[in-house]
């Protein structure tokens, strides 16, 4: 059983974090030329769409958004009794020579991102891959870091960070859950 320990962000906090990330993306890449956003299933997808909308509001240009499913690239499949359901990867544009911003809700061990990098590179050779995460909770097991972070949240490994978005969960907040024995 998990119970809510603390709320890290409310709806407004998520909004502000995404607005700031959108500005940082535009600034670092000096505009939106060749820029695309790719959301990692599942909650990276609505976040990528929201970032694209914010970029459109700020810059007046629209950037394409793709969806990446990393199930077939996971490195733990051989140890799982039940395999996760595979969904489609929907990237309807060439990734070759693109500046890709990979978007996910939480960055933790780094293994999801490693799988995502493998999956992306199989689709072509992007010019650059950058990483945006709403929450960085630490505990990396691989040498991976995010380029854009909404909020750094030091956590214990016993805790869980839960990002709830309107599109996927019908509510809008980020909370820390802890297990109660």
């Amino acid at each position: 059983m998990m119970k809510e320990k603390a709320q890290i962000l409310d709806a407004q906090g998520i909004q502000r974090a995404l607005t700031r990330i959108a500005h940082e993306i535009i600034e670092r890449n000096k505009g939106t030329e060749n820029l695309v956003l790719i959301g990692i299933r599942r909650r990276g997808v609505p976040l990528a769409n929201r970032l694209a909308e914010k970029i459109r509001q700020i810059e007046g240009t629209s950037v394409e958004v793709g969806i990446l499913d990393i199930t077939l690239y996971r490195d733990d499949l051989t140890t799982l009794a039940y395999h996760p359901v595979v969904h489609r990867t929907e990237i309807n544009f060439p990734v070759k020579d693109k500046i890709i911003v990979l978007v996910d809700d939480v960055i933790y061990t780094g293994r999801t991102i490693r799988a995502a990098l493998d999956a992306l590179i199989d689709l072509g050779r992007p010019e650059v891959i950058q990483l945006a995460a709403l929450i960085d909770r630490g505990h990396r097991e691989l040498p991976i870091r995010a380029d854009y972070i909404g909020k750094n949240v030091p956590t214990s490994r016993k805790e869980e960070v839960s990002v709830r978005l309107n599109e996927t969960d019908g509510e809008e907040k980020v909370i820390i859950l802890e297990s109660i024995e």
């Binding site: 077939l72 199989d122 689709l123």
Partner: protein, 313 residues
């Protein structure tokens, strides 16, 4: 989500949920086939053995490619080049293959039930790639996938299966699968090639091909197994083509958007007219592509941790 058994032995044992899971998993697999780099690392380190006692081009190479696209290692064993010629039993051969580290064994055998025997013997997953005249589950799954892809659903569709129902494992697997998924299945062909009491499987039997094809959404044309026609179950190839072959006139009885399927290899001009095989309603070539996707889906779904699967029997 996962399949209920470590093996895929037949369509008959599958639930509607399992069939849907396999068909749904095949869609992202098909996306991989469209890519320039047709390879994902999913089954790295797994060994898959194809063990075919009967000749086959498409099923065997389809499984082989499916395994390779998922990064598994594959080996093919043929009875003519293995110890089977020295009199080794199926069971012992299988145990040997497993002892070499095979995770999945794909078997085709002329004796119905061989995959079932094997599945009880080995811990590895067993996939039935055709056993006698009993079942050919992966063909039925790829047929269902192809129909669902084009029509959006299987439920409520009228499907006619035309030809040698008696000897056809494809027909049997299709009947079990399609009726389970809510389609109306009609079977038709020469009376001598119609199994007794086939209607007990929930199909409608038509002695007239014309009546059977009236208003159907799908026509699945079976291959006339020339190698099995020594017994004289119909007078001649020419007569079969004239009385039962799918030609333009007969196709016109079906719905205008009806799909034409054939498991291959085709006897052009016998069970199917060449212009229909190559025509706009034919999905025969797509069936082959979908076959690879379906087999990738199965290999993925059956490759869970072995220890979690209990051996029955």
């Amino acid at each position: 989500m996962s399949l209920n058994s470590k093996d895929l032995l037949g369509i008959r044992e599958l639930t509607v949920e399992e069939i849907n899971l396999i068909l749904d998993t095949a869609t992202p697999m098909k996306d991989i086939l469209k890519r320039k780099i047709k390879k994902v690392p999913t089954l790295r380190g797994r060994t898959i053995v194809t063990f075919f006692y009967e000749p086959s081009t498409r099923t065997r190479s389809s499984f082989d490619l499916a395994a390779k696209y998922l990064s598994a290692d594959t080996i093919a064993i043929s009875p003519s080049t293995s110890s089977v010629v020295k009199g080794e039993s199926l069971k012992d051969t299988a145990l040997t293959i497993e002892a070499m580290g095979a995770n999945i064994i794909i078997i085709r055998h002329s004796a119905a039930g061989s995959p079932h025997l094997l599945a009880k013997t080995v811990r590895a997953s067993v996939i039935n790639a055709g056993d006698g005249t009993h079942e050919h589950p992966t063909q039925a799954l790829l047929d269902m996938y192809t129909i669902r892809e084009k029509k959006g659903t299987l439920k409520g569709l009228k499907v006619a299966i035309l030809g040698d129902i008696l000897h056809s494992r494809v027909a049997r697997s299709n009947i079990w699968g399609l009726t389970k998924m809510g389609a109306e299945v009609r079977v038709t062909g020469p009376a001598t090639l119609m199994p007794a009491e086939i209607e007990k499987l929930g199909v409608k039997v038509y002695m007239s091909v014309e009546e059977a094809l009236e208003g159907v959404d799908v026509i699945n044309v079976l291959r006339i197994q020339l190698e099995r026609q020594q017994q004289g179950l119909f007078p001649s190839i020419r007569e079969y083509a004239r009385l039962f072959g799918l030609n333009k006139q007969r196709l016109a009885l079906a719905r205008p958007d009806a799909l034409v399927l054939h498991p291959g290899p085709m006897n052009r001009g016998v069970e199917i007219a060449p212009e229909i095989a190559d025509g706009t309603q034919s999905v025969i070539v797509e069936q082959v592509t979908n076959g690879v996707a379906i087999r990738m889906a199965l290999l993925y779904l059956l490759s869970g941790e072995e220890d979690s699967n209990e051996i029955t029997g």
